[in-house]
Symmetry: C2
Subunit: 458 residues, 2 copies
């Protein structure tokens, strides 16, 4: 270990190699509810791609596990060090926005840049990076590693759709560049897309080329209480089909709405008698460069919502809308504060959400658990909190949820990733032919298995 | 060979195994200008995924090269059989649209379905699959294999952005399903994206889940002649930044415009004195669900084009617009008819197109070649025809074009692929670390190297 620390110090200077008590608790965990913290042998804070390369060369030579860390906001334990002998490569110093290219509409960023930092820099250019996974302190590197999604995916897609190119360091220390400032390419296998969502297990990203969009100036938020969850989720495909192109299309169940509005002290002005009848809410945000077009679309949507069975339709004042979206984004923290034992973010085809939710209710009853949530209804990504203290019962509920989701044509995780915490379910439920193929791909990138072992695959 | 044919006949019935004179010339080539036709040992026409699996099991066991074929419209030789001992798996019988799911906005198709067949089926649902790579007789399987792009990529992205999931058969004959009817997923490595664009070298796709969009009812086409090509390509980033969201944004140089309009006998009503001054044309198509919004956008665009230096601005009548786009799509055939020796589809950052074009002119002069073209200006994808009969000179021009494109941050092919015909350039110019990594990925999928050997990698 002393030898390793010395080697690493030569690369990043001793100031940026932390060992022993100098390692703060933060480096031992991410935000996964269930992960066991693990203090690593060392934390390394490289400042350049060359330094990342040097660190990986040493780690590869000495067969030391390496876990990459952005801002540590992940929800699946992928940033938890694999073992006490592992090193954490923290990208906190590589936090520069290298370029905002207004002609090509791309930003080039280092992995430690946070979403809020990027958004602030883009505002004055009237451009936007549209991925909005809820936690704005998250780093772009972490977003790339988990293929972060969020509320706006129904309009813009997820991180995968915004990343045009990467600079990445392989386990060997070799540096590659993939893609570039363009959308089209058929020039070999798409390494960009393969690295995105690989949770730090294939390569360490040191630079990302991100697609930007004109920033629409006008936004509106419509909220509609419905008598049943079924009616909410059933309305979603029809709203998408209408062609208004919503920016956000969320459902929030009654329990979650009560909890998140109470959490931030928000009064949306819904009369008590309507609240009593509403089992679920639909929240639709729209944006447009033209105020009058937005008004027309709000009008059309409101009429459609009434036809689809909404008890009432509220066009929220801007401040209340912002507060509601912020509150929705804090649903995870509210669930955590309320003692949720685990969370899931199953994705299913959006038209299958009602059936999925019905089966979730059955599962919760069978295993005497409470399951509540809200979800990105527009893209079938359902966020549920599972309240069940007994680990065996909880395992059954969780596995049941994943099985039901997969049987409806869905997948275990829409955006949180598999990490360490859902690996057991993934390996149990995924087609073994695919798992074996993924292992061979992992081997092609990282023959010594130093990159984030224990995450995703064994 | 007799044994192989017998084994294959057991799987697909003798009727669907062609050998000897029964193999039509079509199976020996695609549309690449430079590829040498190669008659295969056998053509197999499976009707089901199970049959594809059976064929690959036999081929893998006997180490027989397998080249997949859709409708043979490729431009890089990827569908040309590797050797005279190879078998072609033709997907002509697997041409069923399995499902049009109007709630989830997806179509599930077999690989032999053509773009025109799908478009016809979608029209009555008021949905659209937006990839428009020019050749509407192309198969979806071929589109997936080459990550087909085309004119509408500036608005919708390319095939990669529309394919949500696949069924694919590995070289071993094992069948996997990837992705599904959803946009979000972080559940293991993205095999869907890795297989897309791999030109038949990683797996054979037997089903694709495609994203659909509401079909906007109104379209308008604006054409503007400019005094210089520089002004056209320089205008493009500004039009994109305006936020009007063009569907198509093409430049056509003077030579190409004259050739393609003459080819189809199209008179766009541009007075001779303006034609004399116009070195290049910009063509912008827009679409909208609302006729009045479209009119407003056309008005705003026309004003912007005048400010950007257009000599004049023409809003084309629908029929002329359709004819012009059709003519533009036939540019390849016109180039072929005019004796072009090769074609390239380099992609560069869109703001780098003027610099790229300037360097192309220099290269053409240096090597006494004629290079003319048109391009998807909105996404930096430049299509050029190279007229140079001497192979050595032509190699220098081609390699020079690719080097210049790459030095500007671009890539060798935006949408045609590497295939067999650009492999030499790809292997010479690409970072060897990436090429080696791709070889290891290939090995992970296809340890015996039976899938499309000679394409992309050696």
């Amino acid at each position: 270990m002393a030898d390793l620390a010395a080697r690493l110090s030569e690369i990043v200077t001793p100031e940026h190699v932390l060992t022993g008590d100098a390692i703060s608790d933060d480096y031992a965990h991410d935000e996964a509810l269930t992960a066991t913290p693990q203090v690593p042998a060392a934390v390394v804070r490289p400042g350049t791609t060359g330094e990342v390369s040097g660190v990986l060369r040493v780690a590869n030579e000495q067969r030391v596990p390496v876990t990459a860390r952005g801002n540590g906001t992940g929800l699946s334990g992928a940033a938890v060090p694999a073992t006490k002998g592992a090193i954490v490569v923290s990208f906190e110093r590589m936090n520069e926005i290298i370029e905002i290219d207004t002609e090509n509409h791309v930003a080039v960023v280092e992995p430690g840049v946070s979403l809020s930092q990027l958004d602030e820099a883009l505002a004055s250019h009237r451009l936007v990076y549209p991925v909005y996974p809820g936690e704005y302190s998250a780093s772009l590197g972490g977003n790339v590693a988990t293929n972060a999604g969020g509320m706006r995916a129904v309009k813009y897609g997820v991180t995968r759709h915004q990343v045009l190119g990467l600079e990445a360091v392989l386990a060997s220390g070799e540096v590659i560049r993939t893609g570039g400032k363009f959308v089209k390419a058929t020039t070999g296998y798409d390494l960009t897309q393969l690295i995105i969502g690989s949770e730090g297990s294939l390569a360490l990203v040191t630079e990302a080329v991100l697609k930007l969009y004109p920033r629409p100036e006008h936004q509106a938020t419509v909220m509609a209480p419905f008598p049943t969850l079924d009616e909410v989720t059933g309305a979603v495909p029809k709203i998408v089909a209408s062609g208004i192109g919503p920016l956000v299309l969320e459902y929030i169940d009654m329990l979650t709405m009560a909890a998140i509005t109470a959490h931030v002290g928000l009064d949306l002005g819904v009369p008590q008698e309507i609240r009593d009848r509403a089992l679920a809410y639909l929240v639709v945000m729209m944006e447009n460069a033209h105020a009058e077009r937005l008004d027309e679309d709000v009008q059309a949507l409101s009429e459609q919502l009434s036809e689809l069975g909404a008890i009432d339709v509220y066009v929220l004042p801007p401040q209340a809308a912002t507060q509601l979206v912020d509150a929705r984004e804090k649903a995870f923290w509210v669930a955590k504060a309320n003692g949720a034992d685990d969370i899931v973010d199953v994705v299913v085809p959006r038209a299958a959400v009602p059936e999925f939710m019905a089966k979730v209710s059955e599962l919760a009853q069978t295993h005497q658990s409470l399951v509540a949530g809200c979800g990105h209804a527009g893209d079938g990504n359902v966020h549920l909190s599972v309240f069940q203290a007994d680990p065996e019962q909880r395992y059954k509920v969780m596995r049941g949820l994943f099985e039901v989701g997969m049987s409806l044509g869905g997948a275990i995780s829409g955006e949180h990733g598999i990490g360490k915490e859902k690996k057991r379910y993934f390996l149990e439920l995924e087609n073994p032919v695919k798992v074996e193929l993924m292992r061979r791909i992992k081997q092609a990138f990282d023959p010594n298995g130093i990159l984030n072992p224990g995450t995703l695959l064994d």
